[in-house]
């Protein structure tokens, strides 16, 4: 690719999605755009980019931006955030919000849906405790193709084995030919919307938990700060923020503080600006949650 084409793509991606294509991410162009070029029957990526520069066609532009921003995802990715969700966030929020009985969770880079469905599956384990609660899980992503897959909830055998305990497969999926599909209960528990993190969050409402993993890494510092600041305004009191394993809020925005003893977990500061309390001291009646029912003997989570 000529430096001029690369600069063109770089500018396009920054303005359309906020994604910063640093020189070390050049490899992404090849791996992400080759399938698009093939699908649209261009001989090469260069030919496709040249055509876009000439015509500026919206649909071609969108397909290129979406392909560049699609996020690899799998069930229970990195495990720790989901352990924190089960052992810290849920018990604490169930105690703090027992009067309202309403929880709103945002999966801010939902991609193909595995994160949102993983959260939903964990909550199924606590169905009895959550009886009478209104739980909303909103999954947003820039990429409409990823969201289509998320909505269908249909995954390959490889995808359902990577990171997901088999007990969740048995409880929450049905087999459809050689694929596995989340059951209707899990599927209907998540609402998906196409959404650009550069746009206003006002219409999304306020949240109690925000999962925003492995997406900030694509933005420059200024955009990261702006996103975090605006997320801070969409929070209910005690709202948790979960970042990816390699991400940090250090040097960005101070509306969230780290939760001590919980890696990668942040919580909105109270109005006085106080930092979050330790994750270990739980409210007396808050923990641990009792799971609903049992699965076969000798099961390891």
């Amino acid at each position: 690719m000529t430096p001029r084409d690369f600069d063109y793509l770089r500018t396009l991606l920054k303005s359309a999605s906020g994604l910063v294509l640093t020189d070390d991410k050049q490899y992404l162009i090849e791996s992400r755009l080759l399938p698009v070029a093939k699908k649209l029957k261009y001989e090469t990526i260069d030919a496709m980019v040249a055509e876009l520069r000439r015509s500026e066609a919206t649909s071609l532009k969108n397909q290129i931006v979406e392909a560049m921003t699609i996020n690899e995802s799998f069930f229970f990715r990195d495990k720790t955030p989901f352990d924190n969700f089960e052992n810290i966030m849920l018990p604490k929020l169930l105690e703090a919000k027992k009067a309202q009985k309403h929880l709103r969770i945002w999966s801010a880079a939902a991609s193909t849906g595995q994160e949102a469905y993983s959260l939903s599956m964990i909550m199924q384990e606590y169905a009895a405790e959550l009886e009478g609660w209104r739980i909303e899980i909103i999954g947003t992503d820039l990429c409409s193709e990823a969201l289509e897959k998320a909505k269908a909830g249909l995954y390959s055998q490889f995808e359902v084995q990577r990171g997901m305990p088999v007990k969740y497969l048995v409880k929450n999926f049905k087999q459809v030919g050689s694929m596995w599909q989340v059951n209707s209960k899990i599927k209907s528990s998540v609402q998906y919307r196409q959404f650009n993190l550069l746009n206003s969050f006002n219409l999304l409402g306020r949240f109690d938990i925000i999962f925003c993993r492995n997406v900030l890494i694509y933005f420059d510092k200024e955009t990261k700060s702006d996103i975090i600041e605006r997320m801070g305004k969409q929070t209910n009191p005690n709202c948790y923020l979960v970042l990816g394993a390699s991400e940090t809020l250090v040097g960005l925005n101070d509306s969230f503080g780290t939760v001590p003893d919980a890696r990668g977990l942040y919580q909105i500061k109270d109005q006085a600006g106080n930092k979050p309390a330790s994750a270990i001291t739980r409210p007396a009646s808050g923990a641990p949650l009792a799971k609903t029912g049992t699965t076969g003997r000798n099961f390891t989570r």
């Binding site: 305990p165 088999v166 099961f299």
Partner: protein, 123 residues
């Protein structure tokens, strides 16, 4: 060093599984059917058993049920590793006492994620 017993009638699969398990520092022994595996377990219980389903002499499910009846037979973690990939087989395996289930084909990544599930590797 933690010990792993690979039970499969295919020497190719045993070799692949052995290589993956050795990479994550397990000491590996092999058996080519359920009976041989049971004999080995009665001499020396491994920490983990990777278990095929369809094998001559004694199949994986029969082996598992026999193992779990033995004194201390509850101790080893058992991960089925089989081409049987339907819900019936999975639930049958779990009620017989399997800790995890891998549908073939598998790769290193899937094995490692399942080892973490049964707490034999750190997350």
């Amino acid at each position: 060093m933690k010990q792993c017993l690979v039970v499969d009638d295919s020497s190719v699969i045993r070799k692949v599984a052995r290589r993956i398990m050795e990479e994550v520092n397990f000491e590996v022994s092999e058996a080519e059917n359920g009976q041989e595996a049971l004999d080995k377990c009665r001499q020396n219980l491994p920490d983990i058993i990777l278990l095929d389903w369809n094998m001559p002499v004694m199949d994986g499910l029969e082996f598992l049920m026999e193992l779990r009846k033995d004194p201390c037979g509850e101790a080893p973690k058992v991960i089925f590793c089989t081409t049987e990939n339907d819900m019936d087989h999975i639930t049958q395996a779990i009620s017989a006492g399997a800790n995890e289930y891998i549908m073939k084909p598998f790769d290193k990544e899937i094995i490692i994620s399942k080892l973490k599930e049964v707490s034999l590797l750190d997350a």
